[in-house]
């Protein structure tokens, strides 16, 4: 893709502008503007972190399934094998792959989210 600007930079610029006008908005629109800034954050992170995350997911799923493939096909097959009961939490490697996928996705969607099991923040 072209640079000067990159797509994520365009998103960043819009987010910066929304942040500038937010203080002048009524409470409802100020809230929605904050949501909009968060949306643009997701877009930026998906553009910058998404390819590596998808690469890890594809590699992990291919390992568990025993053959290579593209993300959508591997993901669909994984769902199918869980649905039929062939794959369970005892399937070697499955939970580990799913954990990597979940962490990568939440890092894009909500980088500040603290998942179950995260220790207390340092005082």
């Amino acid at each position: 893709m072209i640079t000067h600007p990159k797509t994520e930079e365009l998103a960043k610029a819009v987010a910066g502008w929304i942040d500038e006008i937010r203080p002048g908005l009524d409470p409802r629109n100020a809230f929605l503007a904050r949501v909009a800034v968060n949306v643009l954050g997701v877009i930026q992170r998906e553009l910058t972190q998404g390819p590596a995350a998808e690469g890890r997911a594809v590699e992990g799923m291919a390992g568990v399934l025993g053959h290579p493939g593209e993300f959508a096909a591997l993901n669909a097959e994984l769902c199918e094998r869980i649905r039929t009961g062939e794959f369970t939490i005892d399937t070697p490697g499955l939970l580990s792959v799913l954990t990597t996928m979940a962490r990568d996705q939440v890092a894009i969607d909500q980088p500040n989210y603290r998942p179950e099991g995260t220790p207390a923040p340092a005082a």
């Binding site: 949306v39 994984l78 794959f87 996705q105 939440v106 969607d109 989210y113 998942p115 179950e116």
Partner: protein, 331 residues
């Protein structure tokens, strides 16, 4: 047709405050994707009253499809209040004359509902350690209220909830292996049946008014009330999506399981096993994940156009990040 709440308030003020009463202040409160909440005050011959209007703004969406009407919600609040539950006083249930559609008016109860503040604001430091126990105790009079027969509340147990959310998930067309695995795991671990009782249905940090000195000040947002397993209400307040950045404090981000269970028991509730609460907590994460998919669908199908909805769709991954840990830990 959307109702202009602000335009209808002066008429409501006269009805509630008498001839000569007017609206002194009115503000829509943010939050609530399908319900509008308005804070307003009326001033009239009988003085000033600070009130809250709860009004359904979306005619239908996946979140509210399972909810009771606001008139039923008000009737439940009154019934539970009479039985000792900590509820906001219902001031008025709106009818056609008010021109507000489905709505009711409560007396404003002082305190805080924003989960993050309750979890981290220093104003709550003194009371925070007691909140889990108070929440356990607050559930007892709700659970002990006989479900009013005329309200025809739906019954749903663990199997029913799993089936319902499975149907929603499949209908969404999404393919999420972690949700699939959570469904499979929970289906194999459904706890033994118990006597069904009245549930609040949405008992979590964010739907409870907390006072910085006194703690629980009012249990709000009764739209998902139904009849079922008492552990459902306890598991939902332990679901990590409602801990607001403090997963180390499993009850609402402010307390421990033991205090919630002890508070429930000390107030006369029938003892509940932690593993049962954990089952419902995990089902809570799964439920919220499927609900987030539904929020996205309500936007993609054109039912609503708020930017909030597709963004909530990106909250599915938070539930997945929680579910993989719960699957690893076991119940």
């Amino acid at each position: 047709m959307a109702i202009d709440v602000r335009a209808q308030l002066p008429k409501l003020a006269v009805r509630l405050g008498g001839e000569g009463a007017g609206v002194a202040a009115a503000q829509r409160l943010s939050g609530g994707a399908s319900m509008e909440m308005w804070s307003f005050s009326i001033e009239g011959p009988n003085g000033r009253e600070d009130l809250i209007l709860r009004h359904r703004s979306a005619p239908f969406d996946p979140e509210t499809a399972r909810s009771v009407t606001l008139a039923t919600e008000a009737a439940l609040i009154v019934a539970c209040g009479k039985n000792g539950a900590i509820v906001p006083p219902v001031r008025h249930v709106c009818d056609d004359e008010d021109g507000l559609g489905e709505a009711y008016v409560m007396v404003a109860v002082p305190g805080e509902t924003l989960g993050r503040r309750i979890v981290s604001d220093p104003r709550f430091d003194a009371v925070r350690g007691d909140l889990a126990r108070q929440c356990g105790a607050a559930l007892v009079p709700i659970h002990a209220t006989p479900p009013p027969a005329e309200l025809n509340l739906r019954f749903s147990d663990a199997e029913g909830e799993l089936n319902r959310y499975w149907d929603s998930y499949v209908a969404s067309g999404a393919q999420r292996p972690i949700l699939e695995l959570a469904f499979q795991y929970l289906r194999g671990r459904i706890p033994p049946p118990v006597e069904p009782i009245l549930l609040h249905g949405d008992f979590r940090n964010g739907n409870i008014m907390f006072h910085p000195d006194k703690g629980v000040a009012a249990v709000l947002d009764w739209e998902l009330a139904h009849v079922g397993d008492p552990a459902e209400d306890m598991g939902w307040i332990c679901t990590n999506s409602w801990r607001f950045g403090r997963p180390d404090r499993p009850v609402g981000g402010f307390g421990d399981y033991a205090d919630l269970l002890a508070g429930y028991e000390a107030a006369g509730g029938k003892p509940i096993e932690l593993s049962r609460v954990r089952f419902w907590q995990m089902l809570g994460s799964l439920r919220w994940g499927v609900m987030c998919l539904g929020m996205y669908l309500s936007w993609s199908s054109g039912v609503t156009n708020s930017v909030e909805r597709p963004m909530i769709g990106r909250r599915v991954s938070e539930t997945e990040a929680d579910l993989v840990v719960l699957l690893e830990q076991g119940l």
